[in-house]
């Protein structure tokens, strides 16, 4: 039975951000791919990676990737879960897992990048 | 059995019913019953437009509109009512606009208008007797005027919180002496019979197109309202006047609106001639519908039609010479029909068309306030109202002009609503007879338990085909006489009908059986009216009496059922401003 749920629980900000982060990611992810994987040596050897890790530009680049990528991916995932009707408890748990894992992996990644 | 009580009951959620419902003031209970969900009513099929002398595009006046309507009606329309309608038209359209109806617009942002069959103005406005030429009087919304009007009215009903009983089939009127005390209806979803007790009942049940084989009407257009009245001993007026619209899609009857000709489309025979030039030299293809339909049939009879794959005939409606923008912007829907159903590309080739049963000029006799009357002295039936195509006010007389029906709905729907609002203030509920639902219950019972051999579908097809053949565009005495005995035998066979579905849930088999009863009830007065009227007037064309006969026949017919057989009476026509003249275009 249809029930009108909530009023103006605006989804606008997350919807706009999902799109902006997506557009950012086009540059970031495809750029990342070309730099890291097009040439095996530049992505797969410690020296080459370390060299880039010391440059502020690439530091920023990687930080952006991690932050924006995680946010976009997890917000997208949460969006998927929201599509399926669940009991509030279940949906709260999933929301919790998403947020916690997001923070945990963000810290992990930032720690890696900033340790150089 | 469930009994409800409402101050007002409106049967039918088409344009007329919904417009009336909007007039019931707060504080009074009102319910609208409809056998289909309200927006599925057939008003939604109207395409071309709604007439009013707004004068947004060309100089116009309600008096010219009135003249056209009177002339179009072949002088059988009641001029008092026609005056009311055409005078009120502009206000009514503007009211629709204020309700939110999305109209097409002129460059200045006013409601756009276009030409339509039979709507004219004097070429020289200072001289009303000068030659009449086509005028832009039809207000429209592309070619979906009825659709947006129906939706706008329904939307306003939601806004006003009107109560709907959707998919309820009304089976009977409850008469308490000369007073209507309510109705009996069946909830289609459960087959349960409900009694609705009311102070006032309005019938706005639409037309009966499905009496004929080729029709532009919906499957739901089975004339239930006519049958309700007829079976309660009340008269039906001018039933012989059946409008055949000239341009139905060949074989299917789906309507190609007059708007196609209003925008410049022309009719062609198999010689490529624009034959309407011969039948109506001034307005040509925009002559009134009865004339164009007869012209098409005459062309076909004289061998100038096209023969189709199944042996039936058609002529061509050509819009291919019109600019593509006109076709796309102003006629998208109807050209779409040609594409979808016949596989014809109207921008390139002509559309095969044939006349199609379209509109009931006759119906339940009412006053201009939609009060149902029961005899030639216009004695009112207290508490009973009718409006829309089911009613006969009569503004359309012997032939309706395009765009005048939608206008009829909103003008007389509103007036009826207002009259009801006044009536219920000082009226109490009439007592409910104990056996109110008896007839309905026994009818349902009989159909459900019958072991007869007749099938609904077959019997209906037989009726439709015979009506088409013998009571169609051209009629004559021998055909009609034959039809009177034919209808008797069809009625007898109907008593022997049986259905497959014995369930209670959404039993459309049962509904169709009851609807067939309505079709038979409606066909009878059509046939009798056509038989008694020994003249040709408007849509009624007798081969044996080819001329109009004002001396004997400038009067309405009233047909009653008495002791099971139809009886005829007559009523005078109100003539106020325009004396009958020969009808030439």
């Amino acid at each position: 039975m249809y029930k009108h749920t909530g009023s103006r629980g605006s989804g606008a900000p997350s919807w706009v951000l999902q799109r902006i982060t997506g557009l950012l990611l086009v540059v970031v992810v495809i750029g990342h791919y070309f730099v890291m994987h097009a040439n095996p040596a530049s992505g797969h050897t410690y020296a080459a990676v370390l060299d880039r890790m010391h440059q502020p530009f690439w530091k920023m680049f990687d930080l952006t990737f991690i932050t924006v990528g995680l946010w976009h991916g997890l917000n997208g995932t949460w969006g998927i879960f929201r599509d399926y009707k669940m009991k509030p408890a279940v949906s709260l748990t999933i929301y919790g897992i998403i947020i916690l894992s997001g923070i945990a992996f963000w810290v992990l990644g930032v720690n890696t990048i900033l340790s150089f | 059995m469930i009994t409800h009580q409402y101050d007002v009951l409106i049967v039918g959620a088409g344009g007329a019913g919904l417009r009336a419902a909007l007039e019931i003031p707060e504080g009074f209970s009102c319910a609208v019953l409809s056998k289909v969900f309200p927006t599925r009513s057939h008003t939604g099929a109207a395409q071309g437009g709604i007439g009013a002398a707004l004068g947004n595009e060309e100089e116009d006046s309600w008096e010219w509109h009135m003249f056209d309507t009177v002339k179009g009606s072949d002088y059988l329309g009641d001029q008092e009512a026609i005056e009311i309608m055409t005078k009120d038209a502009s206000r009514a359209i503007i009211e629709l606009e204020h309700m939110g109806m999305p109209f097409s617009r002129t460059p200045e942002g006013k409601i756009a208008q276009r030409r339509f069959g039979g709507h004219t103005r004097p070429e020289d406005p200072s001289d009303p007797d000068s030659k009449h030429i086509a005028v832009k009087r039809s207000c429209y919304s592309a070619d979906r005027t009825g659709h947006v009007m129906l939706h706008t009215l329904y939307e306003n009903c939601i806004k006003q919180k009107v109560h709907f009983f959707s998919e309820f089939y009304v089976t009977d009127l409850i008469m308490s002496g000369n007073v209507c005390a309510g109705i009996v209806a069946m909830d289609i979803a459960t087959s349960e019979v409900h009694i609705f007790h009311a102070k006032a009942v309005m019938l706005a049940t639409g037309g009966y197109g499905r009496v004929f084989r080729i029709t532009s009407n919906a499957h739901a257009g089975t004339g239930d309202g006519f049958s309700l009245v007829y079976n309660n001993g009340l008269p039906l007026q001018d039933m012989e006047f059946v409008q055949f619209h000239p341009t139905g899609l060949w074989k299917l009857g789906i309507l190609i609106s007059e708007a196609a000709r209003g925008e410049g489309g022309i009719l062609l025979n198999n010689k490529g001639e624009r034959f309407m030039e011969r039948y109506a030299p001034t307005v040509k293809d925009l002559a009134p519908r009865d004339m164009v339909s007869r012209a098409i049939l005459t062309e076909i009879r004289e061998g100038r039609g096209f023969k189709g794959s199944d042996g039936t005939y058609y002529v061509h409606l050509d819009v291919s010479h019109l600019p593509k923008e006109v076709i796309d912007d102003k006629l998208p829907e109807i050209t779409g029909f040609a594409r979808t159903y016949l596989g014809v590309e109207p921008t390139k080739e002509p559309i095969p068309i044939q006349p199609t049963a379209h509109y009931a000029m006759g119906g339940i006799p009412t006053t201009p306030d939609a009060e149902v009357t029961k005899d030639k002295k216009n004695t009112k039936v207290a508490g009973l109202y009718a409006a829309g195509e089911a009613a006969c006010v009569s503004v359309h007389g012997a032939n309706r002009l395009g765009t005048n029906s939608l206008l009829d709905l909103i003008v007389f729907g509103r007036r009826g609503g207002k009259a009801i609002a006044e009536f219920i203030k000082n009226t109490d509920f009439a007592p409910l007879p104990a056996d109110a639902a008896e007839r309905t219950l026994s009818k349902i019972d009989k159909v459900m338990n019958s072991k007869g051999s007749e099938k609904v579908g077959a019997l209906r097809t037989e009726l439709q085909e015979k009506m088409m053949e013998k009571v169609g565009i051209f009629r004559n005495e021998s055909d009609l006489k034959e039809m009177t005995s034919e209808i008797k035998s069809l009625r007898e066979r109907y008593q022997n009908i049986a259905i497959d579905d014995k369930g209670k849930t959404f039993n459309t088999d049962l509904i169709e059986a009851i609807e067939l009863g309505s079709l038979l009830d409606t066909a009878e007065p059509i046939i009798y009216g056509a038989l008694v009227r020994q003249e040709s007037r408007g849509a009624h064309s007798r081969e044996d009496f080819p001329n109009r006969d004002d001396k004997n026949w400038l009067k309405h017919t009233l047909i009653f059922k008495k002791d099971g057989t139809p009886k005829v009476d007559y009523k005078t026509v109100s003539i106020t401003r325009f004396q009958p003249k020969e009808r030439k275009y």
């Binding site: 606008a12 919807w15 009707k85 | -």
Partner: protein, 235 residues
């Protein structure tokens, strides 16, 4: 020409589960409507076959059903639009409660329609004449005003399959119809209704609705205009 309809049947008074029944029917040519064939099945073979219909030419919206897996109107789908060499599968609209055979309970659909306040709200006293509106502004509404409430769109939308509370494309289209009407004053009030996770934001531009709409309305475009309006309002 013989064609076979494979029709999903369900009678709540007898059956616990829907099942399929095949009808072998006689079709004149490939311009025959599916509705004509359903009628043939009902009138000549089995009177208990139940479906809604009225206008028979795609203007009333009664006969939305699923034909060979997609939502369409029985009266606007001709034989030549489907592969009639194989049995044509006829089912009720998906994800709706089945009342009987091809008839579904539409009350939820109508409730969603009513939820968006589908009527013009303008509290200013009306002028004596029509409210002026440019033809361009009027035409902005025409496509959305074509809707016949057949529910083909909403019941084809994957978002509505997984969440019955999703207001659905038809209601969103109706909201557009009034939000973008220059004569309407209730923009905010109505936008609030669709500005929820169950409202416009649940549309993932899947286009099933557009694909299904028999009136060829580009519903997704209309929803996108509304999303933009909602986003602008929020920023």
């Amino acid at each position: 020409m013989k064609v076979t309809l494979r029709i999903q049947r369900y009678n709540p008074e007898k059956d616990s589960e829907p099942y399929y029944q095949e009808f072998v029917l006689e079709a004149g040519d490939e311009k025959e409507r599916i509705l004509d064939l359903l009628h043939q099945a009902k009138w000549k073979h089995d009177g208990t076959l139940t479906f809604r219909r009225s206008c028979a030419h795609g203007v009333c919206g009664s006969d939305g059903i699923r034909i060979n897996g997609r939502n369409r109107l029985a009266c606007s789908t001709l034989l030549r639009d489907v592969n009639y060499k194989k049995p044509i599968v006829i089912e009720p609209l998906p994800s709706m409660p089945i009342v009987k055979d091809l008839i579904v309970d539409m009350s939820d659909f109508y409730k969603k329609y009513e939820a968006v306040k589908p009527y013009l709200i303008n509290n200013a006293p009306p002028p004596e004449h029509e409210r002026l509106q440019s033809n361009e502004d009027a035409e902005m509404l025409f496509e959305s005003a074509k809707c016949i409430l057949c529910a083909c769109c909403t019941t084809s939308c994957p978002s509505s399959w997984s969440d019955e509370n999703y207001i659905g494309p038809a209601a969103l289209l109706k909201a557009y119809r009034f939000v973008f009407d220059t004569r309407d004053d209730a923009g905010d009030e109505r936008l609030d209704v669709v500005d929820t996770p169950d409202g416009a934001w649940r549309c993932h531009t899947i286009f099933n609705c557009v694909e299904a709409c028999p009136k060829e309305i580009n519903i997704t475009w209309h929803i996108s205009q509304m999303k933009k309006r909602l986003a602008q309002r929020e920023m």
